[in-house]
């Protein structure tokens, strides 16, 4: 809604800027405290030192590349698998008519209702019984199973496309599979962008699953970057706050980059989905 009133627009800009500053402040605060001296008191509103060395320490105190590799393995498994599975399930649930469809859709929804926590504990017990803990197999399963929320979003997205598209595709000789790959998928770039971003964002920052299933050797970055002192002196109480702050900023850079790449699609992706309750 564009407002005609100039006054209202100016007030809105001022309000939005003020709120933006409040929201940005923790990042700024983390930044000025990532470049302070290791033993100094926290900086409050402006930088008190410029120890860029801390950023280097954040990457060198821990075996950074080993953990980065583990993170990348998890991403390499979950993003492609999750993209294919969630988008395909969404298509099937929205555009293919079949008996039992609503029951299966309900099954998708139950996985959203039951907390991950409640599933993960019994899952862990099962996994340890068949000896699959401390492997990345779990993430293969996660990828194939899809995420309830993202499957739901995909379904809503395809739901908003007119049924006539399918009819036309069939007349042109498409099968239910090629109708998806040739006609609907090329129209689903916004959806794919939002699915990739959400899966990446979740798995990059998810520490609960890693904490439960993996040993220290296989930890992803999220488990190690925030406790650098542990790697210098195991069992220590020292926190090395400036290094942790530097690590925090370095850690979110990939997510930020992906966010900017996908940002145009992110809102379109949701507005494409039928917004029905």
């Amino acid at each position: 809604m564009e407002t005609k009133s100039k006054g209202l627009r100016i007030i809105s800009y001022i309000a939005a800027t003020l709120i933006g500053v409040i929201f940005l402040f923790p990042f700024y605060y983390t930044f000025i405290n990532s470049i302070r001296g290791l033993n100094s008191l926290p900086a409050t509103l402006k930088p008190i030192a410029y120890e860029w060395e801390n950023f280097k320490l954040a990457l060198t105190l821990i075996p950074y590349f080993k953990y980065l590799k583990n993170s990348l393995i998890i991403i390499a498994i979950t993003v492609p698998l999750g993209l294919v599975s969630n988008v395909m399930y969404g298509y099937a649930l929205a555009k293919l008519k079949a008996r039992g469809q609503s029951i299966i859709f309900f099954a998708v929804l139950t996985t959203m209702m039951v907390p991950t926590f409640a599933i993960q504990i019994p899952q862990y017990i099962l996994f340890s019984k068949i000896g699959l803990t401390d492997t990345f197999v779990l993430w293969v399963f996660e990828g194939i199973a899809g995420s309830a929320a993202i499957t739901f979003l995909s379904r809503q997205y395809f739901y908003s496309m007119p049924r006539a598209i399918m009819e036309a595709a069939y007349i042109d000789g498409c099968s239910p599979y090629t109708a998806f790959t040739k006609i609907l998928l090329p129209l689903s770039k916004p959806l794919c962008a939002i699915v990739v971003f959400q899966i990446f964002n979740f798995n990059w920052g998810d520490y609960m699953t890693a904490y439960m299933y993996l040993s220290r050797e296989k930890y992803p970055l999220v488990m190690s970057m925030f406790s650098p002192a542990e790697y210098v002196m195991p069992g220590t109480n020292v926190v090395l706050t400036p290094v942790v702050n530097a690590a925090t900023l370095l850690f979110i850079i990939p997510v930020l980059i992906l966010f900017f790449v996908c940002q145009k699609y992110l809102v379109e992706g949701i507005s494409g989905a039928a917004v029905k309750g």
């Binding site: 627009r9 926590f117 504990i121 194939i144 009819e167 007349i171 520490y207 989905a273 309750g277």
Partner: protein, 311 residues
């Protein structure tokens, strides 16, 4: 789009019924991986968890494990910590969920008034939501420091008394501030909902002499209600599962007991399972909270007919 070039309006009858068969077959072919995973990887663990909740399983007592009936469930009600932490979790939810929804709507409406720079503001408001939970906890812990933390410094600047944010009296507020800061995750949905409103609606209402406030309350809010409903339902579910945020805010490691205001229901369940090795009781706690979630979701669904706008 290049489809339908042959100009046929409809498919012949015979191919229609075979089409249905093909669609059904394709549907089940595509959904097979999901169904397999659902059975093995979701339904089976859930059933197992429910079974465990009726036993005295401790993780290692395979030989002495036995059924204990509803003992674990009775214990949920006799264990003071369980109900106290559940009440605490409820209070946090009752405060944070409505405020989050109000924040998302306000910001989305605010952004809809802007002409340029929407992308930048959208990113600014959404930024906190893309931070991993661990990093958020670390960041706020630094800001809430008693000595030298920026929040206390700001309080001093306005000549107030510095506060021990991580202590018993204020840790709850600290947690809620942190949660509200991350409320922007629902913002994109609200922006999308407003974007979907046909502009003619606003023009027509303007011609009818509606002011901005009336446009907000009569057009934007009713048409955003499906998104707000989704935010409410997921908000209730996730706030009852609150675990990661209080733990990373307290920042002493996952197996430690945080200060009481941060000791949420799920932290209690986690403690029972992984620290006290009371798997049976921990699963009973979890099943109990899932039942509450299901009940609240049903209540939400019923109430939604009163306020959620549908065509």
């Amino acid at each position: 789009m290049g489809v339908g070039k042959k100009g046929k309006k409809d498919l012949p009858k015979r191919s229609r019924s075979s089409l249905e068969k093909r669609e059904t077959r394709a549907f089940y072919v595509i959904m097979t991986p999901f169904l397999l995973m659902f059975l093995i990887y979701r339904l089976f663990p859930m059933a197992w968890g429910v079974y465990i909740s009726f036993t005295n399983f401790s993780g290692f007592n395979g030989d002495t494990m036995k059924m204990v009936g509803i003992d674990n469930y009775i214990r949920v009600f006799t264990d003071n910590e369980a109900l106290a932490s559940l009440g605490r979790t409820f209070v946090i939810g009752v405060i944070v969920i409505p405020l989050s929804i109000i924040i998302c709507n306000t910001f989305a409406i605010l952004l809809s008034f802007l002409k340029r720079g929407i992308g930048i503001y959208r990113t600014l408001f959404y930024l906190p939501a893309i931070m991993p939970v661990v990093a958020v906890g670390t960041m706020w812990r630094g800001m809430f420091l008693r000595d030298g933390g920026v929040i206390n410094e700001l309080i001093k600047l306005f000549s107030g008394e510095p506060v021990n944010w991580m202590g018993y009296d204020h840790a709850g507020y600290a947690l809620m501030i942190m949660l509200l800061w991350g409320a922007g995750s629902g913002l994109l949905n609200n922006i999308a909902a407003i974007k979907n409103i046909p502009t003619e609606l606003f023009e027509a209402s303007r011609l009818d002499g509606a002011n901005v406030w009336q446009q907000i309350t009569r057009i934007i809010l009713p048409l955003s209600s499906p998104m707000n409903y989704m935010a409410l339902v997921t908000g209730v579910i996730t706030s009852l599962q609150l675990y990661g945020q209080p733990m990373t805010l307290s920042g002493n490691g996952m197996a430690t007991v945080p200060v009481r205001p941060l000791y949420t229901y799920m932290v209690h369940a986690y403690q029972q399972i992984f620290v006290n090795l009371r798997f049976g009781y921990g699963m009973a706690l979890t099943v109990f909270v899932v039942l509450i979630m299901v009940a609240l979701t049903v209540v939400n669904e019923k109430l939604s007919q009163k306020w959620v706008h549908t065509d």
